[in-house]
C-alpha cells in the first residue's frame, strides 16, 4: 500500500512495541513455531521409528510399509492441511497433522534403510552368539543404524520448521503469521521479518542438531573412521 522504502518499513515494524511484547509478538510466535515443530517431529518419530525398526529387523512388511509412507510423501502438505481443516476446523491441530505427515516419511525410510544396511556378518554372529531377537535389535541393529536414523530426524526437523509456516493459514499461530499478516497488510517489513526469522530458526536448529548428533554417536565415528 505504501511506497516507503523497505528499510523504513522494517524500522517501523521493529520499533512497534507489539512486535516485542504481547499476543502477536516475535517471542510468542517463535515459541508457537518451535513448540508446533517439536511436537510434530516428536510425534512423527514416536509414530514411525519403532515400527520401522521392527519391520526392518524382521525383514517383514518393509516394502508394503514403504509404499504407504511414500503415498504420504506424495500428498502435498498444503492439501493435507486443507483436508484436516475441513475435518477438524481451524487451530493448531490441522498444522500438526500435516507436519507429522510431512516428517514421517524421511524418518521411516532412513530407519528402514539403516537397519537393512547392517553388515550381514555382524548379524549372523549376533544371532550365532545366542542373542535374542530383542537383543539383536537393541544392542546391534539400533546402535549401528543410529547415525542414519539421526540423519532422517535432522532432515525432518528442517522440513518441519520451514513448513510450519503454513500453520498460520489455518489459524495455528507460529512465525508464519508475520508472513500471512504481512501479505494481507502489504506490510513488507513484517513480511520480510517473518521470512528471515523462519530461515534463521531452520538454520540454527540444524546447526544445533548436527552438533548434538556428533555427541550422540561418538564411538561410531571412531569405528567407522578406522575401517
Amino acid at each position: 500500500m505504501t511506497d516507503r522504502p523497505l528499510v523504513e518499513e522494517l524500522r517501523l515494524f521493529l520499533g512497534d512495541p507489539q512486535t516485542w511484547w504481547g499476543p502477536a509478538s516475535i517471542p510468542l510466535r517463535l515459541g508457537e513455531h518451535l513448540l508446533l515443530s517439536a511436537v510434530a517431529v516428536l510425534a512423527a518419530a514416536a509414530l514411525v521409528i519403532p515400527p520401522a525398526l521392527w519391520a526392518a529387523h524382521r525383514r517383514r512388511g518393509v516394502v508394503a510399509a514403504a509404499a504407504v509412507v511414500n503415498i504420504g510423501r506424495a500428498v502435498p502438505t498444503f492439501g493435507i492441511l486443507v483436508v484436516v481443516v475441513v475435518w477438524l476446523g481451524l487451530g493448531p491441530w490441522p498444522a500438526l497433522v500435516a507436519l507429522v505427515a510431512l516428517s514421517g516419511p524421511p524418518m521411516f525410510t532412513n530407519t528402514v534403510a539403516a537397519v537393512l544396511a547392517v553388515d550381514p556378518a555382524v548379524l549372523e554372529s549376533a544371532w550365532g552368539m545366542g542373542m535374542t531377537g530383542r537383543a539383536v535389535l537393541m544392542k546391534v541393529e539400533l546402535p549401528l543404524a543410529l547415525p542414519v536414523i539421526a540423519e532422517g530426524i535432522r532432515i525432518a526437523i528442517s522440513q518441519v520448521i520451514a513448513t510450519a509456516t503454513l500453520a498460520a493459514l489455518a489459524a495455528g499461530g507460529g512465525l508464519g503469521r508475520f508472513i500471512v499478516d504481512g501479505f494481507a497488510k502489504r506490510d513488507q517489513g513484517e513480511l520480510l521479518m517473518g521470512a528471515v526469522l523462519v530461515a534463521a530458526v531452520a538454520v540454527v536448529a540444524e546447526m544445533l542438531f548436527t552438533r548434538g548428533q556428533r555427541r550422540l554417536v561418538p564411538s561410531q565415528a571412531s569405528a567407522e573412521g578406522s575401517r
Partner: protein, 382 residues
C-alpha cells in the same frame, strides 16, 4: 575349565538322517546325512561349493532348521528349547568374523558372558585370560575392531567364541579371508589351542590342505550334501573311496600324505659325522664307511657344518677348518613334506635334522619314500 565336554571319544554331536531343502531351491542342500562327531576331535567338513557344508554347520546351532532328521548335541536334541540358549553353549566363528564394530574388542569378547549374566569381575578376568590364550596384546582390548588387522580380528573372533568355555566350537571357513601367511599361522595356533582345550570342533573349509592339516577326521561332501567319504586324513589320502574323492584331494595326494608324517617318526641315519676333537684319519674313515665325499663336523654335539674329504688336512687335528653350513636343515617336528621341500630347495639328496643346533641325524629320499610305503595310517603330530 569346565568338564562339561564329557569323556573324549564319546559322541558329542550326532546327525541322524538329516535333510535340508531351502524353499527357493528344488534340489536339497543336504540329503539324509548321518554323521557322528566325537568329543574332543576336530572334524573338518570339506567339499566344493554347493555341497551343503555350511548348511550342516548352521543346522547344529539352529541358524538353519533342518527339513527332516534329528540332531543332538551332548545327547540333547537341538530342537528342544530356545535356539538362543542352545547357541550360547556353542562357540561360533565365521569367515567374515562379524565383530560388533561399535563395541571395543573387550566387549566383543565378553558378548556371551554378558548374555549369560556373569559378574563384571568374572567377565574382566576371563577377557584377559582369553586375550593371552589367543595371543592378543592386552593393549588391543580397548580398541575398536576396525583398528585391527584381519588376522587380529579373527583372533578376537576365536576368543569371543571361546569366551563362555563352550564344549563345542563351530568354525565356518574361519581363515578363508586372511592372506596365506597369516592363515598358516592361525592354523598352527588352532592346533596348539586344541591340544590344550580339547574342544569338539566342527570346521568347514573348501581347502583340502587345510582339512588335512587340522582334521582328526575329514568328512568329504559332494554337491547336495552327499557324504562321499569320512576318515582320518591318512586314510583318505591313501585309500580314496571313489573317483570324486580322488579328484578332490588332487593329483598330489602322495605329497599331501607326506604332510602327515613327521621326521620324528623316522629312524634317522647317523651319517659321516665326527666331533671336531677327533683326528682327520677318523673323519676319512667315517666318509669311507658312509660312501660320501664329505664329512660333517660337530662340536660337542652342535652342528658346525661340513667339509669335503679332499680338504681334510694331513695334520693330526681337525681344528682350524672352516666348515660350510648345511643346505637343508629341518627340526624333528618338521613334516616329511617340509623335509623334501628343503632337500629340493638346496639340491641335496638328504637333509640334516637338528634341534636348537644339536645334531640329531640325517634323512634322505629313500627313507622318505619308504616311510610312505609303510602306511600304518597313523596321524602324526596331532
Amino acid at each position: 575349565m569346565s568338564d562339561q565336554a564329557g569323556a573324549a571319544g564319546q559322541p558329542m554331536i550326532s546327525l541322524q538322517d538329516v535333510s535340508k531343502t531351502y524353499d527357493a531351491a528344488s534340489a536339497p542342500a543336504v540329503e539324509s546325512l548321518t554323521l557322528e562327531i566325537l568329543s574332543g576331535e576336530i572334524v573338518v567338513l570339506v567339499g566344493p561349493s554347493g555341497c551343503g557344508k555350511t548348511t550342516v554347520l548352521k543346522m547344529i546351532n539352529r541358524l538353519v532348521e533342518p527339513t527332516s532328521g534329528d540332531i543332538e548335541v551332548a545327547g540333547t536334541p537341538v530342537g528342544e528349547g530356545e535356539p538362543h540358549l542352545l547357541r550360547r553353549s556353542i562357540g561360533y566363528v565365521i569367515q567374515q568374523v562379524g565383530l560388533f564394530p561399535h563395541w571395543t574388542v573387550r566387549r566383543n569378547i565378553a558378548t556371551v558372558p554378558e548374555l549369560l549374566g556373569w559378574s563384571p569381575q568374572r567377565i574382566s578376568d576371563r577377557t584377559g585370560e582369553l586375550a593371552r590364550l589367543v595371543g592378543l596384546d592386552e593393549s588391543m582390548l580397548d580398541r575398536y575392531p576396525g583398528a585391527l588387522s584381519g588376522g587380529q580380528q579373527q583372533r578376537v573372533g576365536v576368543a569371543r567364541a571361546l569366551a563362555a568355555d563352550p564344549p563345542v566350537l563351530l568354525m565356518d571357513e574361519p581363515f578363508g579371508a586372511v592372506d596365506p601367511i597369516v592363515r598358516h599361522r592361525l592354523q598352527d595356533e588352532l592346533v596348539d589351542l586344541q591340544k590344550r582345550l580339547r574342544k569338539t570342533i566342527v570346521f568347514v573349509t573348501h581347502d583340502i590342505e587345510e582339512a588335512i592339516k587340522l582334521g582328526d577326521r575329514i568328512v568329504i561332501l559332494n554337491v547336495g550334501g552327499v557324504l562321499e567319504q569320512q576318515g582320518s586324513p591318512a586314510e583318505i589320502l591313501s585309500r580314496p573311496a571313489n573317483r570324486f574323492v580322488e579328484d578332490f584331494i588332487g593329483a598330489e595326494r602322495n605329497l599331501q600324505r607326506l604332510a602327515l608324517r613327521r621326521v620324528a617318526e623316522l629312524r634317522l641315519k647317523w651319517g659321516p659325522m665326527v666331533e671336531v676333537s677327533t683326528t682327520p684319519e677318523a673323519a676319512r674313515e667315517a666318509a669311507a664307511r658312509e660312501g660320501t665325499e664329505w664329512v660333517g663336523l660337530l662340536s660337542d654335539g652342535v652342528m658346525a657344518g661340513w667339509v669335503p674329504v679332499s680338504e681334510l688336512p694331513e695334520s693330526p687335528s681337525l681344528e682350524g677348518l672352516e666348515p660350510r653350513p648345511f643346505g637343508a636343515v629341518v627340526s624333528r617336528r618338521a613334516s616329511l613334506r617340509q623335509t623334501v621341500d628343503a632337500m629340493v630347495g638346496s639340491s641335496q639328496e638328504m637333509a640334516v635334522v637338528a634341534e636348537d643346533g644339536y645334531y640329531c641325524g640325517l634323512v634322505d629320499f629313500r627313507m622318505v619314500s619308504e616311510a610312505l610305503g609303510s602306511q600304518r595310517g597313523s596321524r602324526a603330530g596331532g
